[in-house]
């Protein structure tokens, strides 16, 4: 009892003494009324108060004999200390712009969830979205504006900037705004005003560009956007190098749609997914049929597919050349399926090549998918990067034709393929202003840094897909002396720097008229703010489906011509990809994401050169051997990873690593692969690299080191046929006889069901659990030692051959066994069973014998090998008062030497029961959601009460696919699994 208190106290302060959070509570109170603090003075006070909170937290760390409790000066209305308040906003984690609900406790955002009201994205989120709340409390964020690297006041900066802009010269100033894709219509309107007023040119830059797809769409359908793909409507999905479930365009929405088409309980005809890619991606690992191709083959595959479809259509072969791709069999199957499902099929392609995209559009058009699965009338506005404009800008800068450059949400000094050129060009720009929230690679070179708010601190809106609008509102007063980018723009435009008012006004003018429901704008606004999402009725009215206009035959011809080129011997094509966790590296300083195991490789903390097993044997490479990749002017050194299913012609490297100025956590991790982007996807001769061993060895921090199921019945996989055959009866007879008399049943019997067919392995649940349950980050070395602390892990197994493996994933958390082996062995009763079926772990009783860990057949228990909170050896979020603000006050932070594990979110269960109690009822099915369930875009996890026969869980537990892992041991798990269905053309034998 004695020791833990020393450091729990700080958490206790953060937890029980929310009353300290004077500032945020005032703001939260105002939030509740949907207002915004008007006077700047008020906002200053709030931001100052932001610091006082941090200060309070620091003081809280000191162990005092007596605890202080500081009440409010004035109790804000509508908020109660210790009670959650939820705000709807829009995610700024990536360009997808998912709707979010943010849980704030005592004015402190501590958890984000998907906004179930959003028609597009539903209640799910991705790992990155989950982790954004931690970025808010990132100590690397700038605490105020900088002028030439030195802290300055906003007034100085504004004066300097405005002076420069209004300096009367011979010619008007040539201003350029270089920004990431801006989803907000209001923001775009504001920029439009700049362009008119100040002749500002807006260049949109995306490190991982989908410009080719957009240009092809423009050429093919006359729409300058990326089509909105509807995976839910497709019964056959063919993807070429598009990781749409993991990183491509809008993963959360796509995962949700994709899973909806693969529920045998809902429709017998589950979709078939055929995938062509170079490295085994999250999406590829879910495919029913997957073929490894070299990046240079993307065009050839698309072309071959087109020819097959064209033949079936009787349109004749568009080109008269020999077929050059190796994947003929798969292509035949794909073509047959696509043809069978014309109009209900979908071909997507991630190639960064115009012609390939044209051909893919042609295929979809020939199949009649346009307007059905490929929506070009209400296209996606999520990715608007323009490579040519960017290249042009760099050239102009170099020539000194740019007077002022505003950098907004971009970091080209790191992620531009020719970063050095950009850096050189920057030197020729008289004034560069970065709006970055931290001193990243680019901001460090800028004259002025005017830190933007974190999106959880800022107002904003978004239109991710045409006519799907969502609002973003602050959930906390700015922690630092930062200013919303839009406010800066307004300020320099000479307008009152109040983007909130601007936003309201914009919505009043543009969106309010598009609805009839509300009589006054305030009502409309309050509802929109409350719901977070708004989809005007008129948006749904689909116009006549577009027809293919562009000249796709010439593209086909060009592809055919290109396909001939040969690969030099001993050379490998560079293939650059994004990882699910780190993406383009913007969140590289987020420890949750760095420690999130890659869904496929299970490696954390750094990138690596992925090579095929055959190549590895040929070159004598084992995982962890540092290899050097040479491609003319480019040379990278990084450890190798041997990946089943990798194309033998390609070596794949993830971008997002090798940051030099990410911050304490992310700097110096891995190697920067962006320089390779220039070569990626081009023809083999352009993209070729050599692989040589350096002789050094650098073990990778993988959380799973054995990849075969060893013939054990752990993850069950069946074919759709089998499902029909033995429908109704469960494979295993229910609980084997027990020596013990059953204990009297309590009111509830909590349990869980995991649908292995819906689960894609995206690992969002891992981060969600980490955020919900204060799971510590342990760092690269400890992960290497096999000590990661995640309460839920995604086991990944391969079956089949090394070159063409089938992948199986299985979320594994505490199974809450009815006859739990961990319980009888604990000498001090630190883990016992609750009346309602939970396997409870009592941290404060645990003395740490680890006997339970040894006796757990599922190995889901996690031991606190060290003090992970407030320990400089583990300098992650839990080591700083700022970072600790993200901790969930309802969950104890565990001390050194105690065991912990999945509690089935017992704090949520208790809260749900209490809520029901307060309303004098019992919890209904669905009232209580675990963190992993709530986050899952595929809705693969269902929590519920097995005692309630009507509950969804009880239904699923009876499913024909239902089984429990290792149930033959008699552990009687309360977690049920539903077998994976592989809808493979050869009946599940792939």
């Amino acid at each position: 009892m004695s020791t833990p208190v020393t450091f729990w106290r700080s958490v206790e302060e953060l937890r029980a003494h929310a009353d300290r959070a004077v500032s945020r509570d005032c703001l939260a109170g105002l939030r509740a009324q949907g207002q915004q603090p008007e006077s700047p003075s008020r906002r200053d006070f709030l931001s100052v108060a932001g610091f006082s909170v941090a200060a309070a937290a620091i003081s809280a760390c000191s162990r005092g004999a007596e605890q202080k409790a500081i009440p409010f000066l004035n109790q804000p209305e509508g908020m109660t200390p210790g009670v959650d308040t939820w705000y709807a906003t829009t995610c700024g984690g990536c360009r997808a712009g998912c709707g979010l609900l943010v849980k704030t406790r005592d004015g402190r955002p501590i958890k984000v969830e998907g906004n179930a009201r959003s028609a597009l994205f539903g209640g799910g989120t991705c790992a990155v979205g989950q982790a954004t709340v931690l970025s808010l409390y990132d100590g690397e964020r700038l605490e105020g504006p900088l002028w030439h690297g030195r802290p300055a006041s906003w007034t100085d900066i504004d004066a300097k900037v405005e002076a420069f802009l209004s300096a009367d010269g011979a010619r008007p100033k040539r201003l350029v705004l270089l920004s990431r894709t801006l989803l907000g219509p209001a923001t775009r309107a504001l920029i439009a005003e700049w362009s008119q007023g100040r002749g500002l040119r807006h260049v949109v830059y995306e490190p991982i560009s989908l410009a080719a797809l957009r240009r092809a769409t423009l050429a093919a359908f006359g729409v300058d956007a990326i089509p909105h793909f509807r995976f839910g409507r497709a019964r056959t999905i063919v993807a070429i190098e598009a990781d749409f479930l993991g990183t491509w365009l809008s993963p959360v929405e796509f995962t949700r749609d994709y899973a909806s088409g693969r529920r045998p309980e809902e429709s017998a005809a589950i979709s078939r997914h055929i995938h062509f890619e170079s490295t085994l991606s999250l999406t590829g690992s879910n495919a029913d049929l997957r073929v490894a191709i070299a990046p240079s083959e993307q065009g050839a595959v698309a072309l071959s597919l087109l020819r097959r479809i064209a033949r079936k259509l009787g349109a004749g072969d568009p080109v008269e050349t020999l077929e050059t791709t190796s994947a003929a069999r798969a292509l035949d199957i794909a073509a047959d399926d696509l043809w069978r499902c014309r109009g209900e099929s979908l071909v997507v392609c991630g190639a960064r090549d115009f012609d390939t995209q044209m051909v893919v559009h042609a295929i979809n058009a020939l199949l009649g998918n346009i307007g059905r699965t490929v929506d070009v009338d209400r296209p996606s506005l999520q990715h608007r990067g323009d490579d040519d404009a960017m290249a042009g800008l760099v050239e102009e800068m170099r020539r000194g034709e740019v007077d002022a450059l505003l950098l907004y949400g971009v970091n080209p000094a790191y992620d531009y393929p020719r970063a050095d050129e950009f850096v050189q060009a920057m030197k020729h720009v008289p004034l560069t202003i970065s709006l970055s929230d931290r001193l990243d690679e680019t901001a460090a070179l800028a004259d002025a840094v005017c830190p933007d708010h974190h999106f959880l601190e800022a107002w904003g809106d978004a239109e991710p897909v045409a006519s799907f609008f969502s609002l973003a509102q602050p959930t906390i007063a700015p922690l630092f002396d930062t200013r919303a980018a839009q406010d800066s723009l307004l300020e320099w435009l000479g307008r009152p720097p109040d983007f909130h008012a601007y936003l309201r006004d914009h919505w009043r003018r543009t969106l309010y008229p598009r609805q009839q429901q509300f009589a006054t704008f305030d009502e409309f606004w309050d509802r929109a703010l409350h719901d977070g999402a708004f989809a005007p009725a008129d948006g749904a009215t689909a116009r006549a489906t577009r027809t293919l206009t562009g000249d796709w035959r010439r593209s086909a011809a060009r592809l055919a011509a290109r396909a001939g080129s040969v690969r030099p011997e001993g050379r490998f094509e560079a293939h650059v990809y994004e990882t699910v966790a780190i993406r383009d590296g913007a969140h590289a300083n987020n420890p949750w994401l760095q420690e999130l195991p890659d869904p496929v490789t299970k490696v954390t903390w750094g990138n690596y050169a992925v090579v095929a097993p055959s190549v590895a044997t040929r070159l004598g490479i084992t995982a962890g051997d540092v290899v050097s990749l040479d491609g003319g002017d480019i040379r990278l050194e990084l450890p190798a990873w041997v990946q089943p299913g990798q194309s033998p012609h390609a070596v794949s490297i993830a971008v997002g690593y090798g940051r030099s100025r990410a911050g304490r956590v992310g700097s110096g991790l891995g190697t920067n692969a962006f320089p390779l982007l220039a070569a990626d996807g081009r023809s083999p001769s352009q993209a070729s690299l050599t692989i040589t061993r350096t002789g050094r060895h650098e073990p990778l921090a993988a959380t799973q080191t054995h990849h075969s199921m060893e013939g054990r019945d752990i993850v069950r996989q069946i074919s759709p046929a089998a499902l029909v055959d033995d429908a109704g009866d469960r494979r295993e007879a229910d609980d084997a006889a027990s020596l013990w008399r059953a204990r009297p049943a309590a009111e509830h019997a909590w349990g869980m069901a995991v649908d292995l067919n819906a689960c894609t392995g995206c690992s969002a649940c891992v981060t969600a659990c980490q955020a919900e349950n204060n799971v510590p980050v342990v760092g690269k070395d400890e992960v290497r030692r096999g000590r990661e602390m995640h309460w839920i892990r995604i086991d990944r197994y391969y079956t089949g051959s090394e070159d063409d493996p089938a992948t199986l994933v299985q979320p594994m958390m505490c199974q809450h066994c009815g006859h739990a082996p961990c319980e009888p062995v604990c000498p001090v009763l630190a883990t016992v069973h609750s009346s309602d079926g939970l396997n409870q772990q009592v941290y404060n009783r645990c003395v740490g014998t680890r006997y339970c860990e040894n006796n757990c057949p599922y190995k889901v228990r996690r031991f606190n090998w060290f003090e992970y909170a407030s320990n400089d050896r583990f300098d992650f979020n839990m080591n700083s008062p700022l970072g600790r603000m993200v901790l969930n006050p309802d969950v104890t932070v565990r001390s050194r030497g105690v065991m912990e594990k999945c509690s089935l979110c017992v704090q949520r269960i208790q809260a749900g029961k209490l809520a029901a109690k307060q309303e004098g009822r019992t919890p209904q099915d669905g009232d209580i959601q675990t963190a992993c369930q709530q986050v899952c875009p595929a809705e693969a996890i269902v929590f519920g009460d097995l005692n309630d026969p009507a509950s969804r869980l009880a239904q699923l537990a009876k499913s024909a696919r239902g089984y429990r892992v290792l149930e033959e041991l008699g552990t009687r798990p309360n977690v049920h699994y539903l077998a994976k269905i592989r809808n493979a053309p050869d009946g599940g034998r792939s």
């Binding site: 029980a16 007596e66 409790a69 009592v842 019992t922």
Partner: protein, 192 residues
């Protein structure tokens, strides 16, 4: 022989007493019964809650809906003291604090260990009187921790009231096994 008997008798008598004392001492570690710190403002619960019959929930309104009963914000004090003319040095200090916008740092009297989740509203709804855990606050000039607030103390009450609560609940629900274990005794009720 006699001497030996005396010696052994002594040993036999002393040992158990020593053990009992040790056990008692161990069991009192971290128990602060009777803790009554001096507060920055000598607020008298006897006067307010006792003599003037101000309801507990008027100031500690959080107890109805939240984990925390909460310490009233100064504007709650001023609801009355803004009108009342009576002045004492302590009231002076209060008003001064309000004017200067200074928060008052009260000293917490009832400190549960950090690994215990206690929810006031849950107990208020359950019909537990404030005095059951906080003692006769309405008679205290300076608030004192009246109960031991040990786990054993909590459990004693949960055991005593559990069954009747359970039966009542099952009656309202119309289902449930009367022999079912009382969830209020689960570890996970307070420790997570």
């Amino acid at each position: 022989m006699r001497a030996a008997a005396v010696f052994i008798a002594l040993a036999a008598a002393v040992a158990p007493i020593a053990v009992a004392l040790a056990a008692w001492e161990l069991s009192r570690v971290g128990v602060h019964q009777g803790y009554a710190p001096i507060q920055p403002i000598a607020f008298s619960h006897k006067l307010h809650a006792g003599d003037y019959q101000v309801s507990c929930m008027y100031c500690h309104w959080g107890a109805r809906t939240s984990r925390h009963a909460g310490i009233p914000s100064l504007n709650v004090c001023m609801n009355c003291h803004g009108l009342l003319t009576r002045q004492t040095t302590d009231i002076e200090r209060l008003k001064e604090a309000v004017q200067q916008g200074r928060a008052i740092a009260w000293t917490r009297v009832h400190n549960l260990p950090d690994f215990v989740y206690f929810n006031h509203s849950q107990h208020v709804i359950g019909g537990v009187a404030c005095q059951d855990c906080h003692g006769p606050v309405q008679t205290m000039e300076r608030v004192r921790q009246d109960k031991a607030l040990t786990m054993g103390w909590c459990i004693a009450c949960h055991r005593a009231r559990g069954p009747e609560l359970q039966l009542a609940r099952q009656a309202t629900l119309g289902r449930g096994d009367p022999h079912a274990p009382f969830p209020g005794l689960d570890c996970g009720k307070c420790h997570f």
